[in-house]
Each structure stands twice: as structure tokens, then as C-alpha cells.
Symmetry: C2
Subunit: 233 residues, 2 copies
């Protein structure tokens, strides 16, 4: 039941962005999902994004190829090991330089090209402890910039930057997504999955996801690599 | 005489960005010039950018390929005629959706990857009458966003967004560039050049450039298409 209202949703194929896509659809938008190939090691992310876009009612799904040169110096793109176990505090080595700035900028351009009213991004309170470009003050500053950046803005129809999961914890996000019919078995959160898209169970992102399901007492549909037993570590 | 201080300069190959590059070099930076291939019709722009980067002392020059899908609906990328003669007021059809937002976002990411201190952009007072993303308030808002976006910012070393030509007219910019040794015959401003990179003489960008040289009484080194006589139209 898609209307004429359009929105762009940034879609990594993880739990948060999948929930965000479901929310945008629930808000009545015909959604263009936008994923990025920027040299990340976890290409299963993009496969998951395609499945999620198809399953959750996106109108279309675009994968934008970004020049890898701009995104060096991160464990997600370089030959730096993804850390296992708890976070060390501070900014994780999985930080990618100005990534959300580039993703949102691209989302803004795509939205104006499509005459879309909003760009959705799935940043949330769990992430913003570590990543500078997940913080509410960053999103607010990007929104103020976007309010001046486009022809639509000058015409009084600025494209809205929406981060509807901003204040939610992982459990709240999962509960919200389940209420919208999200099938989390299609999503991949792991920073270091195997070739079959199975989660390592040990990285920070796996840990947060598992704790989220645990917190609300819901079975975790994540497929783990052989030998990893959730709850037994 | 390049030091260790690094900066990124956005470089279109036109008059303004060439001047901006010369300024960044004069400011003592080892400059990485960043150009973008986004489906623009005037590919001679990129050839000019390469010449300018080599001639004006850039440390290196990168051409980033952007996905054309995000930049539809402009006379610079689509089959919409480039208007000839004076501007009509309002936002020109040569506006490209959120272009400077994307370019600056990419510049910010490249700067952080390179551990560069600043991103230079050649927007100026002549442009900002028409393009929303050339206005001083847009640049200021982008700067405030960048102050929150990066790991460097969190560490108290935010990457500075510099628009040093912001308050200058075309004549002032040319005068400044000449004082820095810029050879404007290497630059191409025209929106609609021929295959040899010769300017049409009739588009808005050609008109502004010609008026700039005229205003300061300096010979215009621009190569025009056969049949176009500056000053005779």
C-alpha cells in the first residue's frame, strides 16, 4: 500500500537499519533503500541488505560504490583485526572516517533526485557511545546543514533527516521491529562473519545484538559459526 | 617546499578551485587535490583539473567516481540544454542535487584518512546568488557539522572547512590568483566546452569569467570556440 510520498533509508543489512526501513514503510513512505560498497570486508552485509530490502517492502534498492581510497584506517576496511570481546572505551578501531557524513550526504542527494521527503538513518543510543558520527548532536548538526543545502530547502520543502531509533537501546529496537513484522534472521550484524554470513559471536556488534535479544527475553535467530554456543561463552 | 601539514582541496579545474588550490599551497600545505567524476557532460573539466593539479604544486590528485544515479535532474548531467545568455534569477538548471554536500563529505573523509588539517572549497560570492550549497550559511553549517563528525574532532583536532574565496568577486579572485602565479589558461570554466576544451563564450559561467577579467583590465587567456569573439557579442 505504497503512496506517492517517498523516502530514502540507509540500509546496511544489520538489525538497526532493517528496523529503520520497516519504520519508514510504516510511516507511509515508498522507500528507496541505499546501501554502500566502500571496501568493507563483510560483503555478506550487502547480501543481507538485498534480502532485507526485498522482504521489508522497499520500493527499490541501490548499492552505491564508493571509492575505497577515502576510507582507509579502519578495521572494517583494512587489514586490522576486528577486536573480540568487550569494548575498550573510546572510539572503536571499527570507526570509518566520516562514514555517516558521506552516507547521509549521498542519501540527501538521492532524496533530492527522487523528490523524496526524508532520509532515515538507524543510528541509536548503543552506538553513539563510541562513534562520533552516531551522536545525537552530530545528527542534529547534519539536519541543520541539510536545511540549507538543497534546492528543495530553498523552496521551503527541506528534506528531513530522521534518526527514529536515536534514543532506543538494542532491546527496545528489537521489540519495535518485531511489532512491525521484521524478520531478524535475515539481518547480519557481525563485523566478521564467515563466508556463509554466519556471525562470529565474539565481536562487539555480536555481543550487543545478543544482549538485546536477551534483554527482552526473545529467541535470537542469529546463525552463528559452528562451535559458538550463545550463552555458553 | 612542502611541509608535513596536509590539506585537501576540491578541484573542478575551473578558475575558482584553481585559485583555491594555489592558496592552500601558499598556506604551507602539502595538498591532495580531489576531483569528482559524477556523470557531468564536460569531461574536459577533469582534464583541466589534472593539468591544474600538476602545474600548481599539488602533492597528488585523485579523481573519485561517484554513482551517477544520485545526481539526476541537472543540465550538467542530463540531456537538458545548458542555457545561454544571462541568468533568469532563482536557482539555475545547472544545480546538481546536494553536490557540494557530497563533495565536502568526501573531502572530509579523505582528509581524515590522510590526517589532513583542512578541506578547501572554492565557493564564492558570485556563485552563491544562485546555488543553495554555495551560500556562506551553508558552508558555516557544514563546518559546524564537521566539528562533530570525526574522530579527529573528538580528539580536539577537528578538520577545518575553508572557503577562502567566499567574500570575493570574480575580478578579486583572478587578481589574487595572478599574485600567486596561477596560469588561468590551464583552467576551464565553461559549462559547455567543445571537445578541445574551448569555451562556448555564451553560458553563464563563461560570462562571469569574462566579466571578471574585464573588471580588472587583465587579458583573458580563455580559448574560445571558433567564431566567438569576446567583447563583440
Amino acid at each position: 500500500m505504497k503512496g506517492d510520498k517517498r523516502a530514502v533509508t540507509l540500509l546496511s543489512g544489520g538489525l538497526d537499519s532493517a528496523t529503520c526501513l520497516a519504520l519508514a514503510v510504516a510511516d507511509g513512505f515508498a522507500v528507496t533503500a541505499l546501501s554502500f560498497a566502500y571496501g568493507q570486508k563483510a560483503r555478506t552485509e550487502l547480501d543481507a541488505a538485498s534480502r532485507v530490502a526485498a522482504a521489508f517492502g522497499a520500493r527499490d534498492h541501490r548499492v552505491v560504490r564508493l571509492d575505497r581510497d577515502a576510507f582507509l584506517g579502519s578495521a572494517l576496511t583494512d587489514a586490522i583485526p576486528v577486536p573480540k570481546g568487550g569494548g575498550s572505551g573510546g572510539i572503536p578501531v571499527t570507526y570509518v572516517p566520516a562514514r555517516n557524513t558521506v552516507f547521509l550526504a549521498y542519501g540527501l542527494a538521492a532524496a533530492e533526485s527522487l523528490d523524496a521527503d526524508a532520509v532515515y538513518i538507524g543510528v541509536n543510543s548503543v552506538d553513539y557511545s563510541g562513534y562520533p558520527d552516531c551522536r545525537p548532536e552530530f545528527i542534529a548538526a547534519f539536519r541543520r546543514m541539510a536545511d540549507l543545502a538543497t534546492k528543495r530547502a530553498v523552496e521551503g520543502r527541506a528534506i528531513d533527516i530522521r534518526a527514529p531509533l536515536q534514543d532506543l537501546g538494542k532491546g527496545d529496537i528489537i521489540r519495535l521491529g518485531l511489532s512491525l513484522g521484521v524478520d531478524y534472521s535475515l539481518t547480519v550484524s557481525c563485523y566478521d562473519p564467515d563466508d556463509d554470513g554466519r556471525a562470529c559471536g565474539a565481536c562487539e556488534s555480536c555481543r550487543l545484538r545478543r544482549e538485546g535479544f536477551l534483554a527482552i527475553g526473545t529467541p535470537d535467530p542469529t546463525r552463528y559459526v559452528p562451535g559458538f554456543a550463545p550463552g555458553a561463552e
